[in-house]
C-alpha cells in the first residue's frame, strides 16, 4: 500500500519526540544510570603492551583484598571455534570476538583486556586491578598498515593466510584478504584519456566519538537467567553475542535497552556484557561496568586508517574513461575492516565503463575496528572525490558539471555489479549547483570544495506491535533503540496509517522478551525497515477495525473504509451508519472479538540507495595553518523525510563528524605502540566554536519500495565531508592535500614545501 497520493497529516511534519521531556529534564536512563540493590562495580585490567604473549596471570593478591567479590580472566571464557557464524546483522567470528573482549593467550593492542574484577566500590576495584600480576613476553609490534603488509612484519595471528590470492600462501600473514571488483579495462580507458590523475592518499583511524561511554549492568539471577541492561545499537545483538560467547541459550538472556548516548556503528558490537555476566555469576550480585573515556579510545571503535591509490582518466569533454582504486584498510587486532564496502562505494556515484577496485584487509596492533557510519565509504570517497576534483581542475571544468557529466542514474551499472534502481544523485548535484552558497565569491586564502557520496542503506529484519487501548489510544512497541529521534518518526507513521492524533500514539522500545527479533539500529534502517514493520502492523490494526465496524453494522468488510481515523460505509449503498472512531470501536472490542492488536514481522526488502553532495568553504590562515570552515552546505536525497528536523540533524551531525575526520581527528601512537591521545583534549573532535551553521537541502526522490518513500538518511552525510573539506583546503592553499587529517602542522609544512 502506498501513501504517495494521500494528503499526509503527520508524515513530513516536525513533531516533538515522545521521549523528549525525559531527555531534557535528565530523567532518561542511559547505560550507566541504573542502580540495583547490592550492585558491585566491575573494572577491567588492560594490557600496556601492543603485542605480547601472556605467560601467566596471578590473581591471588587481588582476590585476598577485602571487598573484592569476583575475578575473571580469559580462562573463564568458553573456547570458541574460529569460524564465521550467523549472528543477527551478519557473520561474526566468535573466537575473535571472545578474544577481543578478554585476551586468552596473547594481547594484540595497548588496552586489550586481560582480567576483570568486581568489588564493592570503584576504589577497591581499582586497587584490586593493581594487585593482579600479569607476566608478559613482549613481542615486536606493527602499527602502520603498509608496514604490516610487508613480508617481514611481525605476524599477529599464525592462523591467518591471505585469502583471495593465487597461489594459496603457505606463510601466515597480516593481510587477511584481497578483494577485487569492477568491470571493463581501466588501462584501455586511460589510453583514450586526455587527462589522467593518479595519486596516493592516507587517512587515520578515527573514533565514533559517542559521548556516552560503554556501560552495562548485568544480574545473573539465581534462576540462571542473565539479565542485562545496557546501551547498545541493538538489544538483540547484545543477546545473541553474549549468549554465544558464554554458551547460553538465547532465551536465558534478557536484554533491556537503556537509552543510548550515541553509537554511530560503534555500539553494534559488545565489549562488557559477557565479562559483567561472569562477574555477576561468580559474585551472586549485580555488576555494573562503565568504561572510562581512556578505555573507550584504547579498546573500542575506531574505524580503519587507510592507505589508498586512485587513478582516473578522462577525455577533454569530461567523460571518465577509466578508473581504479587500491585500498588498504587497517582492521585492527582481528580481521574485519570495512574494505569490501570501501571498494563497492568508492566509485558508486559515477557511470563508468572501465572500473576496478582492489582492497586489502590488514591486521595491525591497534584496537579492533568497529563499524562507523557508512563503514568503509568515507575514506574511499575522500580519495576518489579528491581525484575527481583534481580532474575537474585539469580539465578546467566546474566540479559539479564534471560530476553531472558522469553521474550515475537509474539503470547505471554500479561498480560492484548490479544496476541502480531509482536514485536521486543527479537531483542532489542540481540542487547543490543551484544553491546560493555555491556562488558566494571567495576572498584570499579561501577555497571551496565539492564532493559527493553514496551509501546503500539496508533493510533487514524488524518486528513491531501496535496495541489499541480501550480508550482509543495506541501503544507501539519497537525493537530498535532510539538513537536519534526514531520514536518520533515511527510514531508519526503509525499515526498517519491509523488516522489518529500523533499525541495519542505512545511508543516504547521493548526488551528482548517483549518484542520479536530486530536487527540493530544501524545501516540507516530503522525509519525504513522498522518503519515498514510498524506501518504493516498499523495496517493490520486498520483491517481489524474495519472488520469490527462491519460486524457492528452487520455489513460486509469490503463495504467499510478506514478514513482519517474513522470507519465509514464505503458508499451510500453500503448503508447509512454513523462513522465509528478508533476509540468507539476499541471501547466495544470485547463484544466484537477481543483486543485489537496489530503485528508485523518482516525482512524489509527494497532499501533505497542514498546519495549526497556537499559544498564546503574554508579559509586557511597561512601563518598557523588553521582552517576555518566558513560555510557548509549538505544536499541529500532522503527519499521522504518523515521528520525533517531529525533528517537535517542526521545530515548536520554527519557533516560535523566528517569535518573532524578531515581536519583534526586521529589516533596517535608512540614508538612503543601505545596510544598517546586517549582523551577528548588530545583527540580533538569538533566543538561548537569550530563549526558554522550547516545548511541542509533535503531532496526527495521517493523510494518506490517504501509506503512513504523512505530511503534512510543516517550514513550518507558522513561520506562526502572528507573530500569536500580536503578539496576546499587544497584550493585555498593552492596545493593538493592527500593525507588526512589536515591539521595545522600538516598545512604549514605543505605551505613551506
Amino acid at each position: 500500500m502506498g501513501y504517495e497520493d494521500k494528503e499526509l497529516k503527520w508524515v513530513g511534519t516536525r513533531q516533538i519526540r515522545p521521549d523528549g521531556v525525559d531527555k531534557v529534564t535528565g530523567r532518561a536512563n542511559f547505560g550507566a544510570d541504573l542502580n540495583l540493590p547490592g550492585m558491585l562495580t566491575g573494572k577491567i585490567l588492560r594490557s600496556p603492551h601492543p603485542h605480547a604473549k601472556i605467560v601467566s596471570i596471578n590473581t591471588d593478591k587481588a582476590a585476598a583484598l577485602p571487598g573484592v567479590k569476583a575475578i575473571v580472566t580469559g580462562a573463564d571464557m568458553p573456547e570458541m571455534p574460529s569460524e564465521m557464524a550467523q549472528a543477527g546483522e551478519g557473520a561474526v567470528n566468535f573466537r575473535y570476538l571472545s578474544n577481543n573482549i578478554m585476551a586468552h593467550d596473547k594481547v594484540l593492542y595497548d588496552g586489550h583486556p586481560v582480567a576483570a574484577v568486581a568489588a564493592i566500590s570503584d576504589a577497591v576495584a581499582n586497587e584490586a586491578l593493581s594487585l593482579i600480576e600479569v607476566e608478559y613476553e613482549v613481542l615486536p609490534h606493527v602499527i602502520d598498515v603498509e608496514e604490516s603488509m610487508k613480508p617481514d612484519a611481525p605476524v599477529l595471528h599464525d592462523t591467518i593466510f591471505t585469502a583471495g590470492v593465487e597461489p594459496k600462501p603457505e606463510k601466515p600473514s597480516n593481510v587477511v584478504m584481497r578483494v577485487q571488483m569492477g568491470f571493463g579495462d581501466p588501462d584501455a580507458g586511460y589510453e583514450k584519456s586526455d587527462v589522467v590523475i593518479e595519486r596516493n592518499y592516507t587517512t587515520q583511524p578515527v573514533h565514533q566519538g559517542y559521548i556516552e561511554p560503554h556501560a552495562a549492568v548485568v544480574e545473573w539471577t539465581e534462576n540462571d537467567e542473565c539479565r542485562i541492561w545496557c546501551s547498545s545499537q541493538g538489544q538483540f545483538m547484545v543477546r545473541t553475542f553474549t549468549a554465544k560467547l558464554l554458551d547460553l541459550e538465547l532465551a536465558q538472556v534478557r536484554v533491556t535497552p537503556a537509552e543510548i548516548g550515541g553509537g554511530f556503528g560503534g555500539k553494534t558490537t559488545i565489549y562488557l556484557e559477557p565479562v559483567a555476566a561472569l562477574l555477576s555469576r561468580k559474585s551472586h550480585r549485580p555488576v555494573r561496568m562503565v568504561m572510562s573515556r581512556d578505555e573507550v579510545f584504547r579498546a573500542t571503535g575506531p574505524t580503519s586508517g587507510t592507505a589508498m591509490r586512485v587513478k582516473i582518466g578522462a577525455t577533454r569533454d569530461g567523460k571518465i574513461q577509466g578508473a581504479e582504486a587500491e585500498l588498504k584498510y587497517q582492521a585492527g587486532a582481528y580481521p574485519g575492516s570495512p574494505v569490501a564496502p570501501g571498494c563497492m562505494t568508492a566509485f558508486a556515484p559515477y557511470a563508468l565503463e572501465n572500473v576496478k577496485t582492489v582492497g586489502y584487509d590488514v591486521v595491525v596492533n591497534r584496537p579492533l575496528s568497529a563499524s562507523y557510519r557508512a563503514p568503509g565509504a568515507p575514506m574511499a570517497s575522500f580519495a576518489v572525490e579528491s581525484a575527481i576534483d583534481e580532474l575537474a581542475q585539469e580539465l578546467g571544468m566546474d566540479p559539479i558539471d564534471l560530476r553531472l557529466k558522469n553521474a550515475a542514474k537509474e539503470g547505471t551499472q554500479a561498480p560492484y555489479g548490479p544496476k541502480f534502481k531509482s536514485i536521486g544523485y543527479i537531483e542532489t548535484l542540481e540542487a547543490a549547483k543551484a544553491h546560493p552558497n555555491y556562488n558566494i565569491p571567495l576572498g584570499p586564502n579561501q577555497g571551496r570544495g565539492v564532493a559527493s557520496g553514496f551509501w546503500f542503506n539496508i533493510g533487514m529484519q524488524s518486528s513491531a506491535t501496535v496495541n489499541v487501548a480501550e480508550d482509543g489510544t495506541v501503544c507501539v512497541i519497537s525493537g530498535n533503540p532510539d538513537i536519534g529521534g526514531s520514536r518520533a518518526s515511527l510514531a508519526m507513521m503509525a499515526a498517519e496509517v491509523l488516522g489518529v492524533d500523533y499525541n495519542k500514539v505512545k511508543i516504547i522500545v521493548g526488551d528482548t522478551a517483549s518484542i520479536g527479533y530486530n536487527d540493530v539500529t544501524g545501516g540507516s534502517r530503522v525509519t525504513f525497515a522498522t518503519g515498514m514493520a510498524i506501518i504493516q502492523a498499523a495496517e493490520d490494526v486498520v483491517q481489524q477495525l474495519r472488520e469490527r465496524a462491519a460486524m457492528t453494522w452487520d455489513i460486509g468488510v469490503d463495504a467499510v473504509v478506514w478514513e482519517d481515523g474513522f470507519a465509514r460505509p464505503a458508499s451510500a449503498n453500503a448503508g447509512d451508519f454513523k462513522p465509528l472512531s478508533l476509540a468507539d470501536i476499541a471501547a466495544k472490542a470485547g463484544r466484537t472479538g477481543g483486543p485489537i492488536n496489530g503485528k508485523a514481522a518482516i525482512n524489509a526488502r527494497g532499501a533505497g540507495a542514498g546519495f549526497g553532495t556537499h559544498i564546503c568553504d574554508v579559509e586557511v590562515d597561512p601563518d598557523t595553518g588553521h582552517v576555518t570552515v566558513l560555510r557548509y552546505t549538505a544536499v541529500q536525497d532522503a527519499g521522504k523525510a518523515i521528520h525533517p528536523g531529525y533528517v537535517e540533524g542526521q545530515m548536520q551531525g554527519g557533516v560535523a563528524q566528517g569535518v573532524g575526520w578531515a581536519l583534526n581527528e586521529e589516533y596517535i601512537y608512540g614508538e612503543d605502540g601505545r596510544l598517546q591521545n586517549p582523551g577528548f583534549l588530545d583527540y580533538r573532535m569538533p566543538v561548537a566554536s569550530d563549526l558554522p551553521m550547516i545548511d541542509t537541502v533535503i531532496v526527495e526522490v521517493p523510494n518506490p519500495a517504501h509506503p512513504f518513500g523512505v530511503r534512510g538518511v543516517g550514513e550518507v552525510p558522513i561520506v562526502p565531508p572528507l573530500g569536500a573539506t580536503a578539496n576546499a583546503v587544497s584550493h585555498a592553499i593552492g596545493k593538493r592535500m592527500t593525507d588526512l587529517p589536515l591539521s595545522p602542522p600538516a598545512i604549514v609544512s605543505a605551505l613551506d614545501s
Binding site: 523528549g20 529534564t25 542502580n35 559521548i211 556516552e212 573515556r293 528536523g645 540533524g649 551553521m693
Partner: protein, 158 residues
C-alpha cells in the same frame, strides 16, 4: 578510610551526604544523591556532559571534589524545570530537534541557561564559544546554537 560529612543545597533543597575523599561532585550527584541527569562523558573536564552550576558558576562537576562542597549551592539539570513548566531552553530544544541521542543535552541546557543569565543578548559567536566546552557528537551543534539564540531573543522580548 574516613568519610566526609557534607551539607549542601542542591536545586534549592538541603542535602546531607557522606563521601570518600576521592569522590568527585559528579560521583556524589550520581551515586550518593541519585541525580543521574548529570552525565559522565570523560571525567577529565573535556566534554561538559557533567555541567552544573556551583554557587552561580558553570563548572564541570567531574573536576570538583564532593568533600569540598560543604555549604555550596548546586544547580543541576533536575532543577531546571519549574514543576510542570519546562525552562524555555528545554522547550525549544524539543521543538527544534536540538537533541538526537540526548546524552549531551543536560550539560548543554545547564551551560546555556547560565550563559543567558549572564548575557541575555549573545551573538552566535558568543554562544559557540560559551558552549565550546560541551561536546555533542550527534547534532553538529547547528540546532543547539539556533535554539539558544531563539530563546535568548524570546526571553528578551517577553
Amino acid at each position: 578510610m574516613a568519610k566526609f560529612h557534607v551539607t549542601a543545597t542542591v536545586n534549592g533543597e538541603e542535602v546531607e551526604y557522606l563521601c570518600d575523599p576521592q569522590q568527585t561532585m559528579l560521583d556524589v550527584l550520581r551515586d550518593e544523591l541519585n541525580l543521574t541527569g548529570t552525565k559522565e562523558g570523560c571525567s577529565s573536564g573535556d566534554c561538559g556532559a557533567c555541567s552544573v552550576i556551583l554557587d552561580g558558576r558553570l563548572v564541570c562537576s567531574c573536576l570538583a571534589l564532593g568533600a569540598e562542597l560543604d555549604g555550596a549551592k548546586i544547580e543541576t539539570i533536575e532543577g531546571m524545570a519549574e514543576g510542570d513548566e519546562l525552562h524555555p531552553l528545554q522547550q525549544k530544544f524539543l521543538e527544534e530537534a536540538a537533541l538526537q541521542c540526548g546524552f549531551c543535552t543536560p550539560g548543554f541546557l545547564v551551560a546555556a541557561k547560565n550563559l543567558l543569565e549572564r548575557n541575555p543578548d549573545p551573538t552566535e559567536t558568543e554562544v559557540r564559544y560559551w558552549l565550546a566546552g560541551n561536546l555533542c557528537r550527534c547534532t553538529g551543534y547547528d540546532k543547539i546554537i539556533r535554539s539558544v539564540l531563539d530563546v535568548a531573543a524570546e526571553m528578551r522580548g517577553s
